[in-house]
């Protein structure tokens, strides 16, 4: 575990032309501690992350945590408290079984031994019922993101002969989610170095400028809660777009890295994030709009469907968006027209959201 996080941190520091001594503070994020069986593992990781003698924090906001952690780290800088912050999110899922780690009976609560897939399947069925989306929509996303992953050497899953037929033939886990419609259980870490404006101006390498950041939470249950198209997600996006001056996300972004752990969440989040009208998300997916060669590529890195170290997945979305606008997308680099990209994460039963917009140019305000 110490090696896993340190490897990511060392690479991020090298990319920023910095050493451990340059870092003022370290912010760690990960999902439930029960996935590894260690409480507050950042205490044990202080040494490996060069945090000794420095401020260190640990964020946990469920699946959105990778994004939230990047935001907390960035606010430590925009507050003027620190100049250079190292932030690392990770999960080592091979230490346990995430489905059962999520299904521990909670005191005073009815047992919900469903794991994430069992929880989200009825919500997806509700989306299909509402929108009239063809049943193969999810499978199209499953194929598209795995094809994207073939261009990303860091993706966990590489399935060269991925096809609609292969997805359709994979076992049905939670109707309508088939095995290949789900994310894998991965070990992984993501590290970012966040610098102040002065630090970024002096950077030798390309910079991903933060144009906006937003987080929203809503309760697990309330009377008018819409689990398919959550209010918290819509309001989070609205706040974010206002900060970044985004009026038409489909045109204003060159790429979006969005938390899609089950294939159907692409059309659902297309609507929640305002890339189309409610009920139309599946049409964009079906028309190939979100493919690598479409007009707004979603998850060119292969996304969560190709790599899911849960606690890191949100930060990977934020980081992959940053790499695109830095022109560091490698074989999956998108064409930069507006120079802006969206990073998105969600968690819990879709009640926690964190998002940012990054751009290759410094924001004009």
């Amino acid at each position: 575990m110490a090696g896993l996080v340190r490897e990511a941190a060392v690479e991020a520091l090298a990319d920023a032309n910095m050493t451990w001594d340059d870092i003022d503070a370290v912010v760690v994020g990960k999902a439930p501690d029960m996935f590894e069986g260690i409480a507050m593992p950042e205490l044990y990781l202080a040494d490996a992350l060069g945090a000794v003698g420095k401020p260190m924090m640990r964020v946990h906001t469920a699946g959105s945590v990778g994004g939230s952690t990047a935001i907390v780290a960035t606010k430590l800088v925009t507050s003027g408290v620190h100049e250079r912050v190292l932030t690392v999110a990770f999960e080592k899922q091979s230490e346990s079984n995430a489905t059962w780690g999520l299904s521990v009976s909670q005191p005073f609560n009815a047992a919900l031994a469903s794991g994430a897939g069992g929880y989200f399947a009825p919500i997806i069925r509700s989306y299909i019922e509402r929108s009239g989306a063809p049943r193969n929509t999810g499978h199209i996303v499953a194929v598209k993101d795995r094809k994207n992953a073939l261009r990303n050497p860091r993706a966990h899953l590489h399935i060269p002969d991925i096809s609609l037929e292969m997805v359709e033939a994979s076992p049905l886990l939670w109707d309508p989610i088939r095995y290949l419609d789900t994310c894998p259980s991965s070990d992984g870490a993501m590290a970012l170095v966040i610098g102040s404006e002065a630090v970024a101006d002096a950077s030798k390498g390309p910079v991903a400028w933060v144009h906006g950041m937003a987080m929203r939470s809503e309760p697990t249950m309330f009377a008018h809660r819409d689990a398919v198209n959550p209010i918290a997600g819509r309001e989070c996006a609205k706040d974010l777009y206002a900060q970044a001056g985004i009026s038409d996300p489909r045109k204003d972004f060159d790429a979006a890295e969005v938390y899609v752990p089950f294939s159907w969440y692409e059309p659902m989040w297309l609507e929640n994030l305002g890339f189309c009208a409610e009920g139309d998300g599946w049409k964009l997916t079906q028309e190939g709009v979100t493919a690598a060669d479409g007009d707004i590529p979603w998850n060119p890195s292969g996304g969560v469907l190709s790599s899911n170290p849960i606690g890191a997945s949100g930060m990977i979305r934020f980081g992959e968006a940053a790499q695109q606008v830095r022109g560091r997308g490698g074989d999956y680099q998108v064409e930069l027209k507006t120079g802006r990209a969206l990073g998105h994460a969600y968690g819990g039963g879709s009640q926690f959201f964190s998002m940012w917009v990054v751009g290759s140019q410094k924001p004009q305000n």
Binding site: M40, P41, H60, A62
Partner: protein, 353 residues
């Protein structure tokens, strides 16, 4: 830097709450703190909490907290898997960005759901320490011995701290362990040894409860509080975990945090130290450079009187703020710790005006 002040504080603690779940424990304390702040809940800019899944006994303890806050319409909210004091630090930074002017912070747990002394061993190095399963008090005892060896402090010195904590505990309404007649002789002869040299009375009492604080910036704080406790210094630092790679007899990270927070820049009327074991109070007095003849140390009884894990650190800030707001103190320091053997330390200097 914006001036940020504590404007409201509420807390609860009992030894064992067999009736209420976490949400039910948080709700009344949250209500009390919000009411006392006089800021309408909808106007509070940011919400941040501290909790620990392993104390909850399942993933996502903080979700219970969000449900208790009543986040409809959706709110700006975050969570640290740490004591609520670090949630307050995050909120303080957020207010420094100028994007929000106020924040609600809380920490909570039901320590009685398990045996925290045995449980928190899972905080340690999973490869080399966990297999030996030293309890939290066993690790603290190692540190107590290292400190006693270096300084000559005795078991009686520890008992004096423990007895004073119990006496001081009479002054708060949420004490889990308090006794107006507590004295060192009685503890040395009557309190059983748990992890030599630590007796039961040297170790925090397991507690269930919640702690809530509201902070606000500049004019917002002045509008809602006659005498806010202004945050004048705020810093936190971490030491390596390995017991063999740091001098266990000292708390280097606490000293560094105290320097960065300018603790020594003025006289201190009050110090609330997150000493969960009696020797830790003596170590922290030394590490922070406090003169106990001039500063009232843990007048609330501190964590030896009530210790809601993930909330008790926030209590330290709340108790100092309370003393300042009430007018009995003008400048004080709150200290908060995390991890085995005081590994990580936060220091907050508060001041009236």
């Amino acid at each position: 830097m914006r001036n940020v002040g504590v404007i409201s504080y509420a807390t609860s603690a009992v030894a064992r709450d067999v009736v209420h779940n976490e949400i039910e424990i948080i709700v009344p304390v949250l209500g009390e703190a919000i009411e006392r702040s006089t800021i309408p809940k909808a106007d509070i800019g940011f919400v941040c909490s501290g909790s620990l899944d392993y104390l909850f006994g399942g993933p996502f303890a903080f979700v219970a907290g969000v449900d208790a806050v009543g986040a409809v319409p959706p709110i700006r909210e975050s969570h640290v898997e740490m004591d609520g004091a670090w949630a307050l630090y995050e909120a303080w930074c957020y207010i420094q960005t100028g994007e929000v002017d106020s924040a609600l912070i809380y920490g909570f747990s039901k320590g009685s759901s398990g045996d925290p002394l045995e449980l928190l061993t899972v905080q340690t190095d999973p490869y080399y320490t966990v297999p030996l399963w030293p309890s939290m008090s066993d690790m603290a005892a190692l540190q107590a011995r290292a400190f006693m060896h270096r300084t000559g402090a005795t078991e009686r010195d520890l008992a004096e701290v423990a007895a004073r904590a119990q006496r001081n505990g009479m002054s708060i309404d949420y004490a889990v362990r308090a006794d107006a007649n507590a004295n060192a002789d009685a503890l040395l002869s009557g309190s059983p040894l748990v992890s030599d040299p630590l007796r039961e009375s040297d170790i925090f009492p397991v507690s269930d409860g919640a702690t809530v604080i509201v902070i606000a910036a500049d004019d917002v704080a002045r509008k809602h509080c006659a005498r806010p406790a202004w945050i004048r210094g705020f810093d936190h630092r971490i030491d390596p975990m390995g017991f063999g790679v740091r001098d266990l007899s000292r708390v280097a990270s606490a000293t560094k945090a105290a320097q960065k927070a300018n603790v020594s820049a003025g006289s201190l009327d009050i110090a609330e130290l997150h000493a969960q074991f009696s020797h830790e109070e003596l170590m922290l007095v030394e590490a922070l450079g406090i003169d106990p003849t001039k500063t009232s140390v843990n007048p609330s009884g501190g964590p030896l009187a009530a210790n809601v894990l993930m909330g008790a650190g926030l209590n330290r800030i709340g108790e100092v703020a309370n003393a300042i707001t009430a007018g009995g103190a003008n400048r004080g320091v709150a200290h908060v710790s995390s991890g085995p053997c005081l590994q990580q330390n936060l220091v907050c200097v508060l001041e009236g005006e």
